[in-house]
Symmetry: C2
Subunit: 652 residues, 2 copies
């Protein structure tokens, strides 16, 4: 359903944010206690909108693609995130002003300070700053750098600054420290000296149980909970590959300095899919269905050449040319696009940006972000990464549990592999209670490790190893163990699946839809409208009796009863306010339809149906009007066809 | 829909738990890492079942009662829970064995040890222990007390033990310590001495932000987030009272020693309602609709007299007699009952138990728990408390924000109240930046406090106070402030609402439904059936082609397409297993309907519909069968009426 938006009012983020707060879509948490940065509560329309988006997501992905939904706990013991790499690498760099105690995120600080110096240089050179730049600048100054100083820089320095800013996401902590020293970057408010950057882990930590000894974290993503359940899920799926699991739930990141409202928060809702696939076959059975979808891509080579020009291609072309690594990745990119458009993002402000080699996680083999354009710039809202076999491999290695899938081979094949032979009779008595642990350790060695062990055994007549959970050094001599290359005929191929992961930040998507669908009516800046698609709008219908005369009440009741029966969410506004005011209030709430009940309704049981965006009205019987609403909202109908059988109506 | 369960197999918790694990309803979290007590993950059928229950809850309460849904953050700063009392009082008592490092929950340990001694006494006296007692006993011994010793006790001691066990929930830490000393209770495994009980706070703690100075907790209930948003919600509701807010989300309790599977966990889903009501008028407009509902009550006076005999009464009688405090509380009790029965709990194993005076929270004025009977005993699954004005009052006092509702008086009334008059001209310059804080402090004083301050001012010519956020002592002399009793005519009455809180532990309800709906077919202990009501069953339909012949595929596709269009969740089982095996698998998953496709289907497009509990079958066209499923599942239909238009079918 698209309507031309007849407006001459430019977008104002301030007005939108006021509206969202006034109508309690969301608000800072604990506001009466002064609030906490990066935490927000959702009020009734925010909740309903979010629930509807989740509902669409579940139908679009989980039901449509027959995914296996999982709900894992948020509390996660230290060992899991040690293995996944989060304990060591899920960090940002911060620097402290020891005098004031203030803490800055190092990369953001360098960025802001250099940007403000470049602005000052422009002013000093008598150049004007473009309006949008000024806006951007105002926003920033609200945060750290309070004023732009008119100071001219050497041409060389300008170039250096520009070069640094282009690479700002790629610096290590040490490099950031060097930049801070070299360019004399200080606390922007006091000019005070800053300590060198130190690493700050972004996971919230806690401890489980009364002893305090079991260190734990709040998960920063839902993915690990899905990987740990891989074997149970594969079994549930009758051992069939490929398959996908999915989780919807809260995750947590202890941001150093949250800003930009819902876009960077400390507690947020995610929806993540882990699609497990054979690394030797990443084709997708439904790729045909999406191959002609045209999308706008920003591949890494274009970015590396310093451009941000978008390339328009079909998904089929993108995969065929190798720009997108494989069919499964391409299939999900197209499905993500369809989802985002369905819930109200503007396709002309949506692009798929590929990660550059230096920004991609070390384990990923390809990664595309769905980015939405907002007043804060292009925002990553969905990540779609090929995580390869990284996660399953590291958890398997750490726990000694096999995390593999099996494929029946159409014809058997001969393989030559190292195998272990244990003298069980001697082995058991020697290791006693540790026998199980030692055996598990041995059977979980890779072929390369077995080759090494076999050499050690040959050269020294024994193997020595330290095994987690077993005290002291473990010794195995050739009486106990033999390791030899053995030829076997295999009927089954065993492999560690690769994972393709579409990961959705629901709060960011939600906020972007607000920006894409917010406008104000012509010449009336204060009459804001949120044109949320009917499918996801918090409330679908507002019932408006023309006056609060008792005569109209039975009809209000009648319409309510029918809407309730049809399970269409509605509200009644029988306040004394004028019809116009009541509709304006609901335009702000994004309610797509209004049913007006007047004195004629009492005579002939007809009502008026109003469409939010066009303010067009039609008239018909209650049931005909409700049918139209149902059709447009839930069955992909549009206004024109959905109301074709109703009479046009012009209000006096 | 009820069917007589034709079975001769007694309930076995072991078999049920094996089934739930085998079919991945849920499983211990991080199992490949050894697991963590009290944390569980939900697999696909568990997720779907839980989502369906939440969906019914949302419709039954939020939509039907027009509640305002809120989603507040789980991360909560220390100050909020300091005010609510959780920092000081949300604790259990634990005692430590310094030698082994083991930690015991004090009340549970005393209970177990004394119970096992009573058993030992019975054995020593040559009495037999009843089978259910033995079961109960086995369960316990699995945990701490490993064996029952045949030791006869003095008759006096037996009485003392029994008396203690009857009051075990009411002891303070000090009292538990005295019992441990007096009865020489030690570490049941080693006999080692225990340290005196110390308090352990059940909230998980963490810190927000990089400095680590902002101490925070994971919420142990969703309620506080709703109270803090009270004023925004009242405004959203156009200032109309009464109204209710509702939240669905995770909460966390760091249990000392979790046990009993899903019944006592450390991370759990709650659904909570906060119904805000005028303390002077707790009537409910829809009470008439429920007053004739008959329920089984266990009021406090019956319990205090040592009995647990249930009293059957209508809700109307319960409120009229004063047993249930007010209409709103009674209304919710009836609505809770309707919800629990709708999702599959057995009404004959459901009771409402009133809290006794000594177990009720200090702020509550009445509290009833919906308890469900399981193999673990009667389990509290829903609490329904009248929290009075406690929460809003303490948060208002702490923050200085008014948390009140207003009522237009039909006729104005005269009140005489203490009022403050400030000399603003002197006040501002004196306190400068603190002026706002001091003024806020003054205006948030109660009438009693104002009376005291007025006396102080009269006697000493000044007031002195220490005010949070202001350094040093604040002094106000009579030049700055006057406090006097003033007569005013009021047109509006201002009051702090009371709160009635129905609070649902979703995991406990879920598990109880499993126990109430699990059975095995006659003479076939291994053929478990989960008779989940169709409305909440994870999958509604299993499509079963008679063989995997290609000839049947088009019909499978046809049936799938229709079910997808009707948004009815289904699964296809085209594995090679026998029809019987395939149905048995789905009986375990609680799938209520099966559609069998055979070679006749290819001829005339008819299919067979099988009902899970009775295994009855009927036959008709695809559309007729799907209509019957829809009607029974979503429109409160039953098998008999829903399939009346279909032909009976007897399989060979």
């Amino acid at each position: 359903m698209t309507f031309t938006r007849d407006t001459n009012i430019p977008f104002s983020r301030d007005s939108l944010e006021q509206l969202l707060k006034r109508r309690f879509f969301y608000a800072p948490s604990f506001e009466i206690y002064g609030g906490v940065a990066g935490l927000f509560d959702f009020g009734p329309p925010g909740c309903a909108f979010q629930n509807n988006i989740i509902d669409v997501w579940r139908k679009h992905f989980i039901l449509e693609e027959e995914m296996l939904e999982v709900e894992a706990t948020m509390l996660t013991p230290h060992d899991v995130f040690k293995t996944s790499g989060h304990v060591d690498r899920f960090t940002d760099w911060m620097c402290k002003d020891l005098k004031t105690g203030e803490i800055f995120r190092a990369d953001h600080l360098v960025e802001e300070v250099l940007e403000s110096r470049l602005k000052g240089d422009k002013l000093a050179r008598g150049e004007t700053i473009k309006e949008e730049e000024e806006d951007e600048d105002k926003k920033k100054r609200k945060k750290k750098v309070k004023e732009i100083k008119n100071v001219k820089l050497d041409d060389e320095v300008v170039k250096e600054y520009e070069n640094i800013l282009a690479q700002i996401d790629g610096y290590s902590g040490e490099q950031l420290g060097e930049l801070i020293t070299k360019y004399n970057i200080t606390n922007p408010t006091t000019g005070g000296k800053l300590e060198p950057p130190i690493e700050f882990n972004l996971m919230f930590d806690t401890a489980i149980g009364p002893s305090g000894n079991l260190k734990a974290y709040l998960r920063p993503e839902t993915a690990q909970g899905q990987f740990l359940n891989f074997s149970k899920l594969l079994e549930f799926n009758n051992e069939k590959m490929p398959f996908a699991s999915a989780s919807i739930g809260k995750s947590f990141r202890n941001e150093i300095a949250p800003r930009a409202g819902l876009l960077r928060v400390r507690e947020f809702l995610m929806a993540e899919i882990e699609h497990f696939v054979d690394p030797e076959n990443k084709s997708h059975p439904k790729f045909q269905d999406v191959k002609d979808v045209k999308l706008r891509f920003l591949p890494k080579d274009v970015q590396e050449a310093g451009s941000s020009e978008l390339i328009e291609k079909t998904v089929g072309e993108a995969v065929a040319s190798g720009m997108v690594d494989n069919e499964t990745l391409g299939y999900f990119i197209a499905r993500i696009y369809a989802f985002l458009v369905k819930i109200g993002t503007d396709p002309s402000r949506l692009r798929f940006r590929q990660h550059m080699s230096n920004e991609m996680a070390h384990y990923a083999s390809d990664c595309w972000d769905a980015e939405l354009q907002t007043s804060y710039g292009w925002i990553e809202c969905v990540g779609c990464a090929d995580r390869s076999a990284y996660d399953l491999s590291v958890h398997a290695a750490r726990t000694g549990e096999k995390l593999v899938a099996r494929q029946m081979l159409s014809e058997p094949r001969t393989v030559e592999e190292y195998e272990i032979e244990l003298q069980k009779k001697k082995f058991g008595p020697k290791f006693r209670k540790d026998a199980g642990t030692v055996e598990k350790w041995l059977t979980s060695r890779t072929q390369c490790e077995l080759e090494d062990l076999s050499k050690e055994l040959q050269e020294n007549g024994k193997i020595t190893a330290s095994i987690k959970g077993v005290e002291g050094t473990v010794e195995l001599d050739s009486d106990l163990i033999k390791i030899a290359k053995v030829k076997r005929t295999e009927h089954v191929r065993e492999y560690i699946p690769n994972v393709i992961e579409p990961s959705f930040g629901i709060g960011r998507i939600l906020y972007s839809v607000f920006e894409h669908q917010y406008w104000a009516r012509k010449d009336e800046a204060e009459r804001g409208v949120l044109s949320l698609p009917p499918l996801v709008a918090p409330t679908k219908v507002l019932i408006v009796p023309l006056s609060n005369s008792a005569e109209l009440q039975p009809m209000v009741k009648k319409v309510s009863t029918i809407l309730k029966k049809e399970k269409i969410p509605f509200k009644i506004d029988d306040s004394g306010a004028s019809i116009g005011k009541r509709y304006a209030r609901n335009d702000e709430l994004g309610t797509p339809f209004g049913i007006t009940i007047d004195f004629e309704s009492v005579q002939d049981e007809s009502v008026t149906l109003r469409e939010r965006d066009s303010t067009k009205q039609v008239r018909g019987s209650i049931q005909a009007v409700v049918d139209a609403i149902k059709d447009i909202t839930y069955s992909d109908g549009n206004w024109k066809e959905g109301t074709a059988h109703l009479a046009a109506f012009n209000s006096e």
